[in-house]
Symmetry: C2
Amino acid sequence: MPVYNPPLRDMQFVLHELLNVSDEFKALPKHAETDVDTINAVLEEGGKFAAEVVFPINISGDTQGCTLNRDTHAVTAPDGFKDAYAQFVAGGWPSLSCDPEFGGQGLPFVVNQCFYEMLNSSNQAWTMYPGLSHGAYEALHAHGTPEQKALYLPKLTSGEWTGTMCLTEPHCGTDLGLLRTKAEPQADGTYRITGQKIFISAGEHDLAANIVHLVLARLPDAPPGSKGISLFLVPKFKVAADGSMGERNGIYCGGIEHKMGIHGNATCQMVLDEAVGTLVGQPNKGLAAMFVMMNAARLGVGNQSLGLTEVAYQNALAYAKDRVQMRSLTGVKAPGKPADPIIVHPDVRRMLMTAKAYAEGGRALACYCALLLDKEVNHPDEAVRAEAAELVALLTPIVKAFTTDNAWEATSACQQVFGGHGYIKEWGMEQFVRDARINMIYEGTNTIQSLDLLGRKVLGNQGASLQKFGKQIEKLVKAEMANEAMGEFIKPLADLGQKLTQLTGEVGMKAMSNADEVGAAAVDYLRVVGHLVLGYFWARSAQIALKKLAEAEEEAQRPDPFYQAKLQTARFYFTRLMPETSSLMRRIRAGSDVLMDTDAALA
Amino acid sequence: MPVYNPPLRDMQFVLHELLNVSDEFKALPKHAETDVDTINAVLEEGGKFAAEVVFPINISGDTQGCTLNRDTHAVTAPDGFKDAYAQFVAGGWPSLSCDPEFGGQGLPFVVNQCFYEMLNSSNQAWTMYPGLSHGAYEALHAHGTPEQKALYLPKLTSGEWTGTMCLTEPHCGTDLGLLRTKAEPQADGTYRITGQKIFISAGEHDLAANIVHLVLARLPDAPPGSKGISLFLVPKFKVAADGSMGERNGIYCGGIEHKMGIHGNATCQMVLDEAVGTLVGQPNKGLAAMFVMMNAARLGVGNQSLGLTEVAYQNALAYAKDRVQMRSLTGVKAPGKPADPIIVHPDVRRMLMTAKAYAEGGRALACYCALLLDKEVNHPDEAVRAEAAELVALLTPIVKAFTTDNAWEATSACQQVFGGHGYIKEWGMEQFVRDARINMIYEGTNTIQSLDLLGRKVLGNQGASLQKFGKQIEKLVKAEMANEAMGEFIKPLADLGQKLTQLTGEVGMKAMSNADEVGAAAVDYLRVVGHLVLGYFWARSAQIALKKLAEAEEEAQRPDPFYQAKLQTARFYFTRLMPETSSLMRRIRAGSDVLMDTDAALA
């Protein structure tokens, strides 16, 4: 059976040494009191909850899956899911980073980010039930009427009710402009909504008393395409003005999908049959309102894959130390055993280090983004808020696509460490791989993320946002260029930064005469930028580790193995993972013709 | 529901235009009469069998899986599997390339290779039942006594009985030297075999009347390690001297594994309790005898992944033409539709072309190897046989590891084309990915394949075998270097060949002082050689296509779209897939220290 230990030490490193979050919080009035001890205490308790309550029902949830009663339209989650959710609510966990005005604890997003990483490591399928609520909460918080907020936000905050995002229809996923669900205005100011939605995660279940669906639909007079979409709040049970739950609304689960993974989460076909809803935000501006949810959801998907990378790594490491098979090529390492533990083999280390470097680098990136969100929302200086928002917008597609692609590689590598046992369900490794696969698809496929990055976030403003992030790299490079010990990290980072600048210019020029150049370059381009960003965090991590190790040496203390580990992992990252960029850049420069002149091949 | 159309046209291209097999057969007395029409007719019928009988039970077999009756130890395969197997036997398909001396049809291996590709495309799990028999057949054919051959080969040939390979035990997979199963000699010349085996594919099932297990075990006086292993024939039902089946032997299925994929194939824990067996080959030489099976099996595993790549490609292509979503970045392409078919998007084409290039390139490589096997076994000239054997030995780990890694990438890319639908079972795409995953693990993990290639097949003879293959590349380069139209293929191929020569020398030098350099380089090295080999076949394919297109132009005929497609796919391969080698070579040159100096990181 798999194991999971919350990576508290590395989270503390990222939060307190790399990002110095409590110093940053001093500038944010709402979080000025959030100190190191508070954060550590919350994460320690949160880690216990994840490892002790949610993790033990991960494999059983996958094996059992969800069941739909076709007569009652009721969905039952796997055994233990409901009870774990009740404990989650009783512990106050749903409200961690919610607004105190609606009953939240008002902790920073970056703390919630770490908590959710641990939940995702423990059980991605279970974590999607509360996770989806956050999106609904954010959309209502940003765009709801005072009445909607008063009625729904306290219940979403406490976790008594959960939320969903109802976007996709059978004929449209990426292209929401095609959606057909209709909303008919009623005399009382409500709407009657009719249509069919698919792929609705946590669309129906038995964990919470009510489910708050946020539904995209068209008003009768709406213009065609994406400019005619409005957002509606459609509760499973109607809610009276006093907050009491009334009769069942006309929104039902018509079927649940049988999927590759995340079996414990109900992926529902939802039928709306004159369901009563209320408008959220302005008519025909639903897509913009929904994007509040989608951006949060995209960061959340990156976090799912970060969690899976970490837990897959921990299990592969444990197995590699335990399993004995063959002798080291350089001579016997465990003479008392019939063979050496497989961790002596270089390629086993390659697979393990790949997962470790992506997990720890991904954690730094994800926390950095969450801290930017805290600044975007709470910093008193508008200019700081705006810059934070700009960087979050730039980094969101990278967190989503780069982290999830890396998790696919890393979880598969960790599965490979187990040999044949990695293919067998009881070891848990193959589930991590299957669960990780959806993260590259939902909330905008990774292709869509890459078009968002290259087309909108980079070429859309002539690289201005990218240059802002680049300034941080330049600063680091200047500060450390004379430091010989940092050369192995700084040089490749600076080199990649220069190459990316040139590459971006080339692609931008080509795209001016042929828009397909953007589509042809985008996926590889996102990975190049991803490596630049991750390289920055790995160089910063190495910088801190070198400093700490030097301090220990000066004071004749034993070096802390944690910092030695950071340094070794940084070295691995720069020599074994970042070099992927040379091939990616060659592929990008191959241009779009070789892709588009394929009509005979794809006939 | 997925579709499958046997790729007969491309098989004919590979067999008759690229490899000219019927010309080659003229030098092989046994196959001198095997002409183009015979081959095409067999493959056409074989394709029908695969697509019409085996393909329709692929998804249902995955959903249902196998069941074990714990009282009787009987395993029942999914519905339809037994009937399809009966049709397979009735049609004479098991005997296609078997020795006529034992009832076989004596057709070349390369024909059987193409037939099995189609079976694997249709249903990998089902195909493993007859597929495993081939390994047992080969081992008995090579090492069996006249009595063993007379008793068992006709039944394996006809398919009345199936075979297995019983190698792995709970504590040893890669490291067979650790195995513990015991064989006690009896007065009558038989042996009583006791022990436990795991991961035995098709170890127990209801498709055939008897199962012929080939079991590795130790004699009482055997030396420790891999030099003390012997091979035994252990039938499920004992067989009398007259060929009649007797009582049940002491070999039972004790459990079946729940796996990520290939659910339709029973992966069995086999308990041997004083099972009666006979020795195959010499005492303590079992591993060598087993390698006959394992090499065939490794080529077979590559073929499984080739089949999955092809079928995943076909379905993704069909979906990409049918599904409309978003408009082309360069303007509306399907004005009569609400959106353009997604095949207009460059990244969708990238995913499709990746699968196509790996499928067609992999087919050329696999058929080339199968033809070499035909020469190795049947060529009258010993020198030709020896050279064929040497090239097969070199290419076997490449076919196994490169093809299966590529299939993992390709099937996942094809799944991605489907967006959210790719994650749903009913579309079939996620099953291709799950099934493909095992191929990187069994019959020697891909890490083991890479060590076999770099350590034994390349450095083990100072690159002599690799140079033999390189001579063919040199010949092509010389022949075409003045041909401008071939430049885009010949130059990168020649360039990679030179770089590989230099790289091999570097790695060899470093390995002399540190054996871990082999383990650190091997996996990436195998991919570099894989690209050189595939690049050769793509350049050859382009050469033929250019010639055919030029001929058509000379004769003012319409160009055959098949050759245009080949050319486009070759261009894609050289500009988008082969460039991976530049990163791989950078990683290899990073050396082993960065992997092995990770004790703190992997503590």
